[in-house]
Structure formats: C-alpha cells, structure tokens
Symmetry: C2
DNA sequence: TCCTTATTGAAAATAGTTTCCATTTTCATT
DNA sequence: AATGAAAATGGAAACTATTTTCAATAAGGA
C-alpha cells in the first residue's frame, strides 16, 4: 500500500518489491531528484538536493541508493573523467531519451546530443555480432563519448590570443 | 648527449628536450616498462615493475611521469571503470596499433580487438562533422568501449548452473 | 666545473567512495 | 493494530587512488 509521502514515480514501489527490496524514503527522494533534474548529477549533488528537503538522509545512503538503482537498471552511471561518477535516469525509466555526451576537456562541460545515432546503431550491431562470434564475448553495454573543446572555451581562447 | 644508462626508446631524449623537459632515469624506466609490457597497466603495476629494477624510484614520480607522457601524447590513459587509470603506449610511439577494448563486467578482464574499425571510422567522421557544425564543438578525441561477459565468465556461470 | 632550475622522493593531504556497526524502519505475520 | 525478523539507515572511520608539499638532488647549459 503506497505511503502518504509517496511522491516519486508510482512504479518505484512495485519495482523495488518485485526485486525483494523495501520502499523507503531515501530511495524515493533520490529517484525524485533524478526525475526532476535532467542534468548529470554527482552523488554529492544528489545528496545536497535530497538533503535540502530531507536533512536526515545521509550521504552514505545516497551512495547506497544510487548503487541499488544502477544495479536495477533504473539509473545509469557515467564517468566523464573528472574523478566522480555522474548519474542520470535511464531512458526507459523516464529519463532523457537515448543520447551521447560531448565532454569539453577544458571546462568539463557536458553536452548531450542525440543526432547521428543511426550510424552508431549500425556500428553496434556489426561489432556486437562480430565480437560475440570471434571472442565469444557477450556485449551487454557500450560507452561512446567524444572529447574536445566547446564553443565557450574556443571563444575564450580567441579572446586570450587577441591580447 | 645520450646517457650510458639509456636503454629505452632512442627518441625519448630528443622528444623530452624538444619540449623543454629533462631526460631522467625515472622517465626512461617508466617508458621502458610500457614498451616491454603490452598490457593495460595501472600506475601501481608500473611502479612495481619499475621499482623491481630501480628501487629508488618512488610511486609519486611514476604518477608524475605518466602524467607527463600522457600530456606529450606518448602514452594513453584509459579508464575501465574499476577506479584506477590504466596506461598504454600510444600506437605512434611504438605501442599496439589502434584497437578498442572489450571489458568484462564480471571479472574485469580486458580484451583488445582491432576488427570492425572501418565502421567506427565512418561513425567518427559523420559525427565529428555534424557536431562541430551543430554545436561548434571541436572533437579531439573519442572513447568507444564495449562491456559484457567474457567467455570464461560465461563458462563459469554454466558450471554453476549445473550444480 | 658551476649554477640555475627542473625533478625527485617521502610524507602528508585530498577526494570520492565504501565499510562498520549500533540504531531505526519496513512489512509479512500475527 | 501489535510483533518481530530482516533490511535499511546514518555517522564515523576506513579505504583507495591520486595529488600536493617541501626539502634534497640531479640535469644540462654556461
């Protein structure tokens, strides 16, 4: 039976119970933050946002909850190379639809894009098939990221040159 | 003038001096390890191998040296998601030719493969062009990795099921 | 050889994340 | 609604990879 404080996605209760997990406030609060904030939040970001509304929820629990949600496939964990993990809601759980990331190596900015995914799908299919045959390796996931210089950093560089 | 102890790649001296850096024993030792060991070594792995021959070289220096070599483009730094960086010699510096990585999410094993790179090249070109036009983002690098279950882990799973 | 400056090594600091453990909470069963 | 077993929590401490600090050392141009 749903709780009075249940304000997150209505499927969470069922989903947790289906896997033998309990429905708790921290779990709802974390998921709510991820649902309402479409950015690439770090565990600490999420902790602050959760903590603002529920000060009793600790950082440890946020980490544990994120880990659980990732294991359940509800949340996706990314590594943009700055030493801390980022989390976003999986597409099929109400998150942004399938997209990739452009990462600026100068300022760390992350740009989502969802163009050119057709080519990628092709690549994945070919590769997946070939590799599973050749190495008997079962691909379950992939990571495609592009690194470079964003518009803002390029402009800043030009400015610096003029002086 | 080359040192008596120079045993690493002969171009290292020139390369370092060309960038205003000094030619030192730790730098040579680290590069020598990377040249002789085609695996995906962590900083600590490299430290142990270097330390075996030159016990006076410290871990800090290994980190610093790797950082320098990465910045110079001689070494490539990877992140396979296990919390520590891995290093390999860049293809144009005598390392393995261009390849990608299959990462087993169960045992952490990393398999190099260099098939299916044509499709990837196509993808990169299309994407690079499109993104630089649309977002004014200058792509300088990319990361493509596949995750899944390796043959050994699949077999182990089957074994476990039989019991 | 001398001298400036880059480089080094050891120890301490840092940062993100995980573990420990006593307490609290969930929820199936009374 | 009360009970109790097991799961979940929070805070502190631990842990791990990496970085910084700083005094001592070494490189290499003069």
């Amino acid at each position: 039976m749903p709780r009075r404080w249940m304000a997150g996605p209505p499927w969470l209760y069922e989903r947790l119970h289906g896997c033998g997990y309990r429905y708790t406030l921290p779990r709802e609060a974390v998921l709510q933050v991820l649902t309402q904030t479409p950015e690439h939040l770090s565990a600490e970001d999420i902790y602050f946002l959760v903590h603002a509304r529920y000060p009793q929820i600790g950082l440890t629990t946020v980490y544990r909850t994120l880990d659980l949600l990732v294991r359940m496939g509800i949340v996706v964990k990314f590594d943009f190379g700055d030493g801390r993990a980022r989390f976003e809601l999986a597409a099929h759980s109400g998150g942004k639809s399938h997209h990739h990331h452009l990462i600026c190596t100068l300022c760390g900015r992350v740009i989502d894009y969802s163009d050119f995914l057709e080519k990628e799908k092709e690549l994945l299919q070919t590769t997946q098939k070939g590799l599973s045959e050749k190495y008997n390796f079962e691909i379950t996931d992939h990571l495609i990221q592009f690194y470079g210089k964003c518009q803002q950093c390029k402009n800043a560089e030009k400015q610096a040159e003029r002086r």
